[in-house]
Symmetry: C2
Subunit: 326 residues, 2 copies
C-alpha cells in the first residue's frame, strides 16, 4: 500500500501530537508520510516528509486559502494522493480547507454531484450510525441526498461490515409527508433510487440517531452539522454534570471511584475520537477529517481508518454505487 | 384569574394521569377546568367540566382533524380561551392538532406572521435556553426568524426572569457568513431588527444549546425539531448506557446505589418534563403543549406554567414586542 499522507501542521495540537500519532501508526506497520514544515515537526523517527512551507490556519476562509496557499500542507497532501505518492490523506486541520483541497486537487468521482462528510455516531449495543452530510453542503438538492444515501451505504459496508445497510432520511416525523419541502422531495427520490447494497427504509427522527433504527442517516449538511454538534454538546454537558454532581458528597466521591472503569468505558464509547474521524465521500481518494482537538491516539486511529478504507477499495465502490444511478 | 382549560383526553396517559395532574394543580390553588368526555374522566373531584364528545388521536392528521372534529376536546379547549371561559389551554395530545386548534380558534396576535413553539433546554449551572421554533414551521422565512427572536426574548423574560435576553441564531459556525442561505439572510435581518428587550448576539452552534452561550436560540422548525429530538435521544441513550454499564459488577451496583440521589437529581435536571411543556408563541392566548408521555406531576407543572404565563401577561408582551417592528 502507498503511504498515508498526514497533514503534520493541522489541528489544535499540531505538529507534536500529529507527528506522535503518525509514528504510532507506523509502529503498527502502516506506511505513513508527513506533510509540512520539517523544522517544526520535531523528531519524526525515520518517516518520509513532503515539504510544504505554508499552513492554513484553523479559522482561515477555506476556498480562498486553498487557492492562494499552493504550498500549504493541506494542498500538498491532496496532491500527493492525486499524483500517486500517497494512498490517502488525513488532517485534523481546518475542515473546510481539507474538503476544498481534496475536492480541487483530487477531483470528484465521476457522477458524484457533491462530496459529503460521513461521520459515525455511537449506538450502544449495536454498530454505529453513519450520518451524512455532517457539514460539507449547507444547502442540498433531493438528488444529492440520494447520492449521499448510496455513498453512505458503501461506507457502512466497507467501514462497519454491514452487508445490507438500512438507509433512512432524517426528518421530523416518520410518515412520508413529514418534513421540509426538501425532505418530502428527497423521500420520493430515495424511494425510487437504485441501491447496489442496502435499501431505503423511510424517515427517522433526531431521537433515532444513537439507536439501531437505521445504519445510515441522510440529511443536508446544515441539519447534519447542527445535529452532530448538538449530540457532542449534550454528551459533554451530561458527563460534566454527572462528574460535578458526584463531587459534592464524600460518599459519592468514594462510590464514583469504584465506578471508574464503567465511566471510562462509557466515556470512550461516546467520545468523538473513538472512531478516528469523519470521511469525505465522493472525491477521488481517501480523505479523513479528524477533530481539531485530535491527540496522538486519535490521530493513530484516523490513520488506521484511512489504511482500512484504502485496502477495502472504498473509492471504487463509491464510484460503482453512484455510477449505477445513471 | 380565569381557569386553565386542560384537555383531559390528550396524551398517552389520558385521561387518568391528566385528570390527576389537574387535581394536583387545583389543590395548589390554580383554577382549572377539564375538557373532554365526562364519563371517561373518572373522579374529577369537583373540577368544572366542558363537555366534548370527540378525541383527536395522537397520530391523526392535524389540520383536517381540527376542521372536521368540531366537538373535540382540543377544539373546545381553544374555544374556551377564545370565548373568555378560560385563560389558557394545556394539552399533552397531538402536537400538530393542538397548534392548529389554537391557531384556528384563538387566531394570531396582530403582526405575527407565524406562531412558533418555544421549548426550554436545560443548561447546568445557569438558566435554561429557550429554543424556537421547535417544530411548528418546517420551512421559514428570515422575517419569521426575526419575530421568533422577538417573541423568544419576551418568553425568556416572562418565564425565566431574564431582563435582557441574549438572542442567537442557530448555525454551523459563529461567523456571520456561515450557514444556509436562510441563515445568512436571517442573520442580517436579526442584526437590523429592533428588540424591546434583549439583543441579537450572533450565531451559536449545536454544541452551545445546553450552555450559557445564549438565552434564546432561533431556528426554523425543521432544524429545531431535529436538534431537540437529537438532544432528548442522546440524554436517553447516555443515561440508559450508564445504568446498563453499572449493573454488570456487584461492586458497581453497590456504588450506584450510593449515588442514587445524584443520579435522581441529574435525571430530573435533564428530563423533558421538568419545565412543564413547550409554549406556542404568537396566538391570542396561552397555549401549553406537553409531551405525549406526560404524567400527573408533569401535567401539574404544565398547568402551573400556564397560570404563570397568564399572570405575567405574556400575550400582551408578545403583541407589543412584535408590533414594534412595523
Amino acid at each position: 500500500m502507498l503511504p498515508i499522507a498526514v497533514d503534520a501542521m493541522g489541528g489544535d495540537n499540531a505538529p507534536s501530537e500529529i507527528v506522535a500519532g503518525a509514528r504510532l501508526a507506523a509502529d503498527e506497520g502502516i506506511p505513513v508520510l508527513l506533510v509540512g514544515r520539517p523544522d517544526e515537526m520535531g523528531d519524526t523517527g525515520d518517516l518520509p516528509v513532503i515539504e510544504a512551507s505554508e499552513v492554513i490556519a484553523m479559522d482561515a476562509e477555506p476556498g480562498s486559502s486553498v487557492r492562494r496557499m499552493k504550498d500549504s500542507s493541506l494542498v500538498r497532501a491532496a496532491e500527493a494522493v492525486r499524483d500517486g505518492a500517497a494512498s490517502a490523506m488525513v488532517s485534523a486541520g481546518n475542515t473546510g480547507a481539507t474538503m476544498a483541497s481534496a475536492l480541487l486537487r483530487m477531483g470528484r468521482i465521476r457522477g458524484v454531484s457533491r462530496p459529503a462528510i460521513a461521520t459515525l455516531l455511537p449506538a450502544p449495543g449495536t454498530t454505529p450510525t453513519v450520518l451524512l452530510d455532517a457539514g460539507a453542503n449547507s444547502e442540498c438538492s433531493p438528488e444529492w441526498l440520494v447520492q449521499f444515501g448510496q455513498m453512505g451505504a458503501v461506507f457502512a459496508t466497507d467501514r462497519l461490515g454491514i452487508a445490507e445497510p438500512r438507509v433512512a432520511l432524517l426528518s421530523i416525523g416518520e410518515e412520508a409527508g413529514k418534513g421540509s419541502p426538501l425532505v418530502k422531495e428527497a423521500y420520493k427520490a430515495l424511494a425510487e433510487a437504485a441501491f447496489r447494497q442496502g435499501a431505503f427504509i423511510g424517515n427517522v427522527e433526531g431521537r433515532d440517531l444513537l439507536t439501531d433504527a437505521a445504519d445510515v442517516v441522510v440529511t443536508d449538511g446544515f441539519t447534519g452539522n447542527v445535529a452532530l454538534k448538538a449530540l457532542e454538546g449534550s454528551m459533554k454537558t451530561l458527563i460534566t454534570a454527572l462528574l460535578t454532581s458526584m463531587s459534592a458528597r464524600p460518599e459519592a466521591i468514594e462510590a464514583a471511584d469504584v465506578l471508574a472503569p464503567e465511566f471510562d468505558a462509557l466515556y470512550r464509547q461516546f467520545h468523538p475520537d473513538t472512531y478516528g474521524g469523519a470521511m469525505l465521500l465522493g472525491v477521488r481518494g481517501v480523505c479523513i477529517i479528524s477533530h481539531g482537538s485530535t491527540g496522538a491516539t486519535a490521530m493513530k486511529n484516523a490513520i488506521g481508518m484511512a489504511a482500512e478504507m484504502v485496502e477495502a477499495g472504498v473509492v471504487d465502490h463509491l464510484a460503482a454505487a453512484v455510477g449505477g444511478t445513471g
